[in-house]
């Protein structure tokens, strides 16, 4: 069973905290130590960002980290090399989050195969639409047991949510509000209502909420109805100001007030 499914199906009241970080940032070779520190700090899942020159679903914080990572020399090849022994030390689910073009250039099948070899459990590809995946790439992903994670937003229709639920295998990435990453972190009535609405749909896949979560409060709000939440920009900002030495404290602050 894929580690993502294992993790999300654990019988626990504990909410899942997933952290996104950009591979190769702040320094090219920080990737594995950040992953290890995150696991040790109590993070339940990690999204490893494969940096892209034109990350159009991301806000300025993640874009800046991507730009820096690329400058540092990060490439798909380098990332796979850095991760090749990651499963010797890390057990939680690992997801690569990246835009479609670098994956396409690497070759979608080669990419999935490599992920399987390394022990990557899933992919989040914001600009690979559900239908294209379904028509062209589903069999490849399944062949290598790579879970592709789809997003839904407050604007996604019920019909489409049900469709996405039907083809999803790990979890549904619920974008908290219509926005790029790194936007305002206060969840108001609109979001809460949306969270409830989705929860009431009783989807087969658990939901993990992302975008706009930056601290303990917003983490707790997001996970009231959802299985977990993802923090990205806030973690990158932490790395910007504190470097890689205080990851434990950042995670601790999120998990416990």
């Amino acid at each position: 069973m894929n580690r993502i499914n294992q993790k999300l199906q654990e019988k626990t009241n504990e909410k899942l905290l997933s952290i996104y970080f950009t591979a190769g940032y702040p320094n090219l070779n920080d990737t594995t130590s950040i992953i290890q520190d995150l696991e040790k700090s109590g993070v339940g899942m990690i999204e490893i960002g494969l940096p892209f020159s034109d990350p159009l679903a991301d806000g300025p914080t993640i874009q800046a980290s991507s730009t820096q990572a690329l400058k540092n020399g990060m490439t798909t090849e380098v990332l796979f090399n850095q991760l090749k022994d990651i499963r010797k030390t890390v057990n939680i689910p690992l997801v690569i989050m990246g835009y479609f073009n670098p994956i396409l250039q690497y070759g979608v099948e080669a990419f999935c195969k490599k992920c399987q070899e390394i022990g990557i459990d899933g992919l989040i590809i914001p600009d690979l639409p559900v239908d294209v995946y379904n028509d062209q790439y589903k069999t490849i992903f399944e062949k290598y047991d790579i879970i592709n994670v789809f997003l839904i937003t407050p604007q996604t229709s019920e019909e489409r949510i049900r469709f996405i639920d039907s083809i999803s295998k790990g979890f549904i990435y619920m974008v908290s509000s219509a926005s790029v990453t790194g936007s305002s972190s206060d969840f108001g009535d609109v979001q809460t209502e949306y969270f409830k609405r989705i929860a009431n749909m009783k989807l087969k896949n658990p939901q993990v909420i992302g975008f706009g979560i930056s601290d303990h409060t917003s983490f707790m709000q997001a996970t009231t109805d959802a299985r977990g939440a993802i923090i990205g920009s806030a973690f990158i900002k932490h790395l910007n100001s504190e470097g890689t030495g205080k990851i434990h404290r950042f995670i601790g602050d999120i998990l416990e007030a």
Binding site: T76, F100, N101, D127, Q155, S179
Partner: protein, 385 residues
């Protein structure tokens, strides 16, 4: 939504409702008689269409062939861009949108968008690379005059590509009330198709204008420059299925195709995804999009519309790459021989005559996509006039 293997809508889910709403409605709306009527009335009375098909006598004598210039430079706001923004603003109104966003490089599309927003009384936000804002000051001034808000794109190379990213981000953040007016035949389906249809008026006019002048609706060649490719899409549109009409797409070779400073996407590009569309684009082996270069801000784009990728791959159109120097020389020649100052984009197309020999009986229609007033400083500096 595909041209051969190119096209599609490689968009984040956040954009799905927007793009889907457009996809479901655009053909229906465009087919409505009232839409057609309003669109055509504005093209006539506001844009000044038909744009002339001008027989360039002195140029024709020099190159011993029949050269016609399709005068998109005479459109309101000075380029072909307005054909599309008129169409899209009418579309946006019908879809109930009251906020318009756009990206712009040299500023022509930004001006064309700001113009139609003023015309319709809609809010307008134009994203423009910080570097382009500095080097295209007159167009920034025009947008401000027209009441648009110009937002600098501060990320990446701070030029067109990044302005497009910012516009897409804005759209993601404002999915309900906002329409994104893309300026070229790029972006996710249905944009390339919709923009091409709005620009198709250009080749429609060429057909009947040529009939008046030469007794045939078919030129031997249609020549147009290609950045994203909207002016070429318009000039080629009604000839696409008629292989008797040869199509020539002219790309910007910058300082030389293989100089490392070029925007010749068809030659240098590989299949990939940019701004929501599968097409040819300039990229690293790793799939990172690379920075293009051209003296012409309008051709300075690392991708090309999926229609053009297909025209290239299928061999339907001949692709030629013209350097900065050759384009500038061709532009200055048009000034001195025909009294028309072309946009540097269009000058690339005009350079075809030094590059390729035509027969005396050939009818060669060149898309003069815009006027060169915006490029005066570049010309003057280049030639030290």
């Amino acid at each position: 939504g595909y041209y051969g293997e190119f096209g599609g809508a490689y968009i984040p889910e956040m954009l799905y409702p927007n793009v889907e709403e457009l996809r479901q409605n655009y053909l229906k709306v465009m087919a409505e008689p009232e839409f057609q009527e309003e669109f055509n009335a504005l093209l006539k009375d506001y844009v000044g269409r038909p744009s002339p098909l001008y027989f360039a006598k002195r140029m024709s004598e020099k190159y011993n062939t029949k050269i016609y210039l399709k005068r998109e430079d005479l459109n309101h706001t000075g380029a072909h861009k307005i054909n599309n923004t008129i169409g899209q603003i009418l579309m946006a109104k019908r879809l109930g949108k009251n906020r318009i966003i756009a990206e712009t490089g040299a500023g022509q599309h930004g001006v064309a968008t700001a113009t139609v927003c003023a015309l319709m009384g809609l809010e307008c936000i134009v994203y423009m690379g910080e570097i382009d804002i500095a080097r295209q000051a007159p167009n920034v001034a025009r947008m401000k005059m027209l009441g648009a808000t110009v937002v600098p794109a501060l990320s990446g190379s701070r030029t067109l590509k990044d302005a497009t990213n910012e516009a897409i981000r804005d759209w993601i953040n404002n999915p309900v009330d906002t329409h994104y007016i893309i300026g070229s035949v790029v972006g996710p389906h249905p944009y390339p198709d919709m923009v091409a249809r709005f620009q198709a008026i250009v080749s429609e006019e060429i057909q009947w204008q040529l009939k008046e002048k030469e007794g045939t609706t078919k030129p031997n060649y249609v020549v147009a420059c290609v950045g994203g490719g909207s002016n070429a899409a318009g000039a080629f549109y009604h000839f696409l299925d008629d292989t008797e009409v040869k199509l020539i797409a002219v790309e910007a070779a910058g300082k030389g195709v293989h100089s490392g400073e070029s925007a010749a996407t068809s030659i240098l590009g590989k299949e990939g995804i940019i701004h929501g569309s599968k097409t040819l684009l300039m990229q690293t082996p790793d799939g990172q999009i690379t920075e293009p270069y051209s003296i012409s801000a309008g051709l300075d784009y690392p991708g090309v519309g999926p229609m053009h990728a297909h025209l290239y791959k299928s061999g339907r159109a001949e692709f030629i790459a013209i350097t900065d120097d050759d384009a500038m020389t061709a532009g200055l020649q048009l000034c001195k021989m025909e009294g028309i100052i072309p946009a540097i984009e269009s000058s690339h197309a005009l350079a075809v005559f030094e590059h390729k020999k035509f027969q005396p009986e050939d009818i060669v229609v060149v898309s003069l996509s815009g006027r060169g007033d915006k490029d005066l400083e570049t010309y003057i500096n280049h030639f030290k006039l």
